[in-house]
């Protein structure tokens, strides 16, 4: 950003760099640090454009400051540091709390990942014109309200970093289980979220929550091949073939989990990563340490009260202490307005009812859950379970 001082040009260059990556990487292989590579290309392109403009309009003051000009010919190390600084500044600008939450995710995809407006619109299932207007509004606010390109100072950093991590986590979540459509996973969004989490880890290597988020995403992503069978049917944790979980990713993420948990008290991403690690360590579903998972959700719930965390904890209690205990934990959550259209609540209730042999009630709950999801793969799973419990009740 310091190079161009102009958001539109930076955007064009980021997109250009991404387009070059699509042609260069299949031929030459993905570089060790794809994020840095993208910014290097974007920076060179920005300098090209700015030099051309400067030549065309000699009467105007030079747009490229001397400091930046000299950096280009200096050794690679200096340039990489400068790139890291630029990207970190941009991350905090895109995820600024003064911007609309949807716009934060869209801007991050546009400016840091180089996706086109059309691609982002498609990812969020809105018309391209709608997404273009959303991006324009956000960029205008950045310019007019003077949202700075700056890494926040130590006092503001935890809160502002949390907003950045939330953007990346949201992106991953939307990709991991698409809110609607024919596919369970939106691989493009998952990959972008992982890229961003890895980039943040490079930029802020000492931050425990950054380590926690990266570990959480890597551990969740490690199960990707086993989440559906060959015909695309959804497989739950108890049905997944654990030998096909990505062991290398799990082994790489485990030290990150330990590192993130060293913070006192541990942050919300560290705790979620720890839960994912308990699953990853269990040799089989039956070997899962459900009590440990219940305890971790308990800590998470105490510090970040959320109906969704309460639901996850209730499910874990059902798996630790039996379906009747789980059902009792779920009961008060039925009055939670935030969960009124949340398919996982009736799905969890249906599962416990099924295990208790209360097939008619289970069928009603599966039917309710199926009405609440727009994801075709999830809906097919719920319909399958519905048919099973209906057959069992006859």
């Amino acid at each position: 950003m310091r190079v161009t001082r102009d958001l539109d040009l930076a955007e064009e260059c980021a997109q250009d760099a991404f387009a070059r990556a699509l042609t260069a990487w299949p031929a030459d292989g993905v570089p060790d640090r794809p994020g840095a590579w993208l910014t290097t290309v974007a920076r060179r392109r920005a300098l090209d454009v700015l030099r051309r403009e400067a030549a065309l309009r000699r009467a105007l003051p030079l747009l490229v400051v001397d400091e930046v000009e000299s950096q280009v010919v200096e050794p690679q190390v200096v340039e990489e540091d400068a790139i890291a600084d630029d990207r970190l500044r941009l991350v905090f600008t895109c995820a600024h709390p003064a911007l609309n939450p949807d716009a934060r995710v869209a801007l991050t995809l546009r400016l840091l990942c180089g996706l086109t407006t059309a691609e982002i619109a498609k990812a969020f299932l809105v018309a391209e014109a709608t997404m273009a207007a959303r991006l324009t509004r956000a960029k205008k606010k950045i310019a007019v309200a003077r949202i700075p390109y700056r890494v926040p100072d130590a006092a503001q950093l935890p809160e502002r970093l949390d907003a950045v991590l939330t953007v990346v986590h949201l992106l991953f979540t939307v990709g991991h289980t698409a809110p609607s459509g024919p596919d369970l996973i939106r691989a493009d969004l998952v990959e972008r979220a992982l890229d961003l989490a890895r980039m943040l880890r490079q930029l802020l290597p000492a931050d425990p929550e950054v380590a926690g988020l990266l570990a959480l995403l890597e551990l969740t992503h490690a199960r990707r091949l086993t989440r559906t069978d060959d015909s695309g049917r959804l497989l739950l944790l108890d049905e997944q073939d654990r030998s096909r979980w990505d062991r290398r990713a799990i082994d790489a993420a485990t030290p990150l989990v330990r590192e993130s948990l060293r913070a006192r008290p541990p942050g919300r991403f560290a705790l979620q990563a720890a839960i994912a690690a308990v699953h990853a360590e269990a040799a089989s579903y039956a070997d899962t340490d459900w009590r440990e998972i219940v305890a971790l959700y308990g800590v998470l719930l105490a510090r970040w009260p959320s109906p969704v965390v309460a639901l996850n904890r209730a499910v874990a209690i059902g798996l630790a202490d039996g379906p009747a205990a789980g059902l009792a934990e779920l009961e008060p959550l039925g009055r939670e307005p935030a969960l009124a259209t949340y398919a996982y609540l009736p799905a969890a209730r249906a599962d416990f009812l099924r295990r208790l042999g209360r097939y008619d009630e289970a069928a009603a709950a599966y039917a309710e859950a199926a009405l609440m999801t727009d994801n075709d793969v999830e809906r097919a799973f719920l319909h399958r379970r519905y048919d099973e419990v209906r057959a069992a009740s006859q």
Binding site: A98, V144, A145, R146, I147, P148, R150, P152, Q156
Partner: protein, 115 residues
């Protein structure tokens, strides 16, 4: 540097029910704010309640209407403002966080500059 208007929106009903102690406490908070941030302050005022407002629509046309009350009827009404100078939005927000608004909150708006 840029100028930002910090608009103080509060619930008037709560103010109406507040006693002298609350009033004194908030006045002291404003004085503290003023002395801490005097370098950034460019102006500011408290306003009379929204019931004293008059709204005028269609200005500079042939169909001007003058009506009683503020422009928008909401639970929280504009009760005062500070005009501050800050290098960017983060700095403006840091100052705005120190503005007293016991029964509501504040809105930060960049002041428009015409070239």
């Amino acid at each position: 540097m840029a100028e930002y208007l910090v608009l103080i929106y509060e619930n008037e009903a709560e103010w109406a029910g507040a006693d002298q102690g609350v009033f004194d406490e908030v006045m002291k908070a404003h004085n503290d704010f003023g002395s801490t941030h005097h370098a950034a302050l460019r102006g500011g005022n408290a306003l009379q309640p929204a019931g004293t407002a008059t709204s005028i629509r269609g200005t500079r046309t042939d169909s001007v209407t003058v009506t009683d009350g503020p422009f928008a009827e909401t639970k929280e009404t504009l009760g005062g403002y500070y005009l501050i100078e800050a290098p960017d939005l983060d700095a403006a927000i840091e100052i705005a966080k120190a503005v007293p608004a016991k029964f509501g909150g504040v809105e930060v708006r960049p002041v428009r500059v015409f070239d």
